[in-house]
């Protein structure tokens, strides 16, 4: 399986993917301080600048932006391969389709997980450095803040990687449509904001949990149904 995952990486247009990831990282690393200093500066009811613990709460939804990277990976690894018919090359190898799909899923999971984790680290460092220069957040980060940040970064990276699979079965394998895949990712990234706009209060952790389960279900269907819907 490790070899198959490595081959998925080698088949990609690596420069394009790396360039895309760098753009996500650069944009996201400045967003926490931008939101604190500009967007929420005049909003009395939210104060993410109160402490590092509060700032962390802002950082989590921002990292959901990497769901777009997940959609892009579904596009490269599944949809483009179906459209360019390179998927047929894989199906001609003495490897079952289920195993091939599983390798692709594992590759996307690893890619999104690692990119989100690195994004957390970069955002954390950038926020800290900017805070030291411009005094954006009150006080200094404590060891507790650091530990909470580390744990939430890892857990949330897993969550982002799982949620990114939500469009996989329907739009990636069945319909093989890029735009719906991206729209679905945008919708998922903004889901908590939509519920806020509709004055629906949802427990964020529970929401992410449910979306992660939908992602797992989508992976299950993708693997289980590839022989029925996966023909070239």
């Amino acid at each position: 399986m490790a070899k198959l995952i490595e081959l998925e990486w080698r088949k990609l247009d690596q420069k394009k993917v790396i360039g895309e990831v760098i753009v996500y990282w650069v944009i996201i690393m400045f967003l926490p301080t931008f939101f604190i200093k500009v967007i929420f500066a005049d909003m009395a009811f939210v104060d993410f600048s109160k402490s590092y613990a509060n700032a962390l709460e802002l950082m989590l939804p921002i990292q959901m932006g990497l769901l777009l990277f997940g959609a892009s990976m579904i596009n490269h690894v599944f949809i483009e391969e179906y459209k360019n018919k390179t998927m047929s090359l894989s199906f001609g190898y003495p490897i079952s389709r289920k195993k091939l799909v599983m390798a692709k899923v594992c590759f996307i999971f690893l890619a999104v997980f690692l990119c989100t984790l690195v994004s957390f680290v970069l955002s954390g460092i950038t926020t800290y450095v900017i805070d030291q220069i411009f005094d954006v957040i009150h006080g200094q980060p404590t060891l507790e803040d650091f530990m909470a940040f580390t744990v939430r970064s890892i857990v949330h990276s897993v969550v982002v990687a799982l949620i990114s699979f939500v469009p996989l079965f329907l739009f990636g394998i069945w319909k093989r449509a890029v735009i719906p895949t991206v729209i679905c990712a945008v919708f998922l990234a903004q889901f908590s904001n939509f519920t806020g706009l509709l004055h629906i209060t949802l427990n964020t952790d529970m929401l992410y949990g449910v979306l992660s389960l939908i992602g797992v279900a989508s992976v299950y269907l993708s693997v289980a149904k590839v022989n029925q819907v996966g023909d070239i």
Binding site: L7, K11, D13, F91, G92, P94, I95, S96, R97, D231
Partner: protein, 307 residues
């Protein structure tokens, strides 16, 4: 084990439409088998099923004596193929494409790559991206990929498509050489009769998704008949003269003015002389040999088997 491929009642249905129906095909070890049929007959679909690209709706495929299923695709390790047209990761170089292919098949002989490239005269393309290749180069690179892992069976769908005349000749020679010198079994498809005639040992005729007939080319050649065809406005008198004056018995009136003489004991000039001396006006007289085209036409029209 003498059979490389054997299918039993192989059927593929897509959205209620039957693409191939109950195909029972046999390809023997070491032969070049040609699938012949008009466009849309189902040749590519059969090849796709044989190479694991699509899953049959029903029926069975035996590859090297073992049943080919989604969970048992080991036989495909011994198969190289190009179906429809050669597909590559266009943003990668030829070398990267070939290496990835080899790794999927667990084949790690780097020397084999350069040997195969030499065999099809593809030089200096190591770092060139496939998107910059011409169709002919892609076709040759596809052949390299198909044979690089030293397969025992190579499946080629319309192998000369997109090649220039020299490329077509090279391709034919390469297939012959690989078949004769390396004993590789070939399954080829084409809708061009002459193409198949020049390469195949045995032919399977496909029409509307069905295997109409399987026949060795040598057998067709035995069945080949020579005949003289003449065109005249006075068919009745001509037939009388042919039968009574020239003692020709095997005659067929094809159309109102066209007569075919299968009895070749009289030459064209003998027939002409006799007819002209009896005031028969000959519009046309020519000696013919029935070709694979005639045989194929007869099979498709009649749909029957040849005894």
């Amino acid at each position: 084990m003498n059979e490389v491929i054997r299918t039993h009642e192989l059927t593929k249905t897509v959205k209620g439409k039957t693409i191939t129906s109950n195909v029972n095909l046999t390809v023997k070890k070491g032969e070049t088998y040609g699938l012949l049929g008009p466009n849309g007959a189902g040749k590519t679909t059969i090849m796709k099923m044989l190479t694991g690209l699509i899953i049959p709706t029903s029926g069975e495929i035996m590859l090297f004596g073992k049943k080919l299923t989604e969970s048992a695709k080991d036989g495909l390790k011994r198969v190289g193929s190009i179906i429809e047209y050669p597909i590559f990761f266009e943003h990668l170089t030829a070398m990267e494409n070939l290496r990835i292919h080899c790794e999927y098949l667990g084949f790690y002989d780097r020397k084999a790559i350069s040997q195969a490239l030499d065999m099809v005269n593809l030089h200096g393309i190591d770092d060139k991206k496939v998107k910059d290749f011409s169709l002919g180069m892609k076709q040759r690179l596809g052949i390299v990929r198909a044979m690089i892992t030293k397969p025992e069976l190579i499946v080629l769908d319309e192998p000369t498509n997109g090649l220039d005349p020299i490329g077509i000749k090279d391709m034919r020679e390469l297939i012959r050489m690989l078949n004769k010198e390396y004993g590789i079994t070939f399954l080829l498809s084409s809708h061009i009769l002459g193409e198949i005639e020049q390469m195949a040992d045995r032919i399977g005729m496909i029409q509307q998704g069905k295997l109409v007939n399987e026949v060795a080319l040598a057998d067709i050649q035995k069945l080949r008949t020579d005949y003289i065809e003449l065109v005249t406005s006075n068919v009745q008198k001509t037939v009388y003269l042919l039968e009574h004056d020239l003692q020709i018995s095997n005659i067929k009136i094809v159309k109102d003015t066209r007569i075919r003489i299968y009895d070749m004991k009289r030459s064209t000039s003998d027939i002409s002389k006799t007819l002209i001396s009896n005031d028969i006006e000959i519009e046309e007289i020519q000696k013919h040999t029935s070709t694979l085209e005639d045989y194929f036409y007869h099979q498709i029209q009649g749909g029957g088997k040849v005894g």
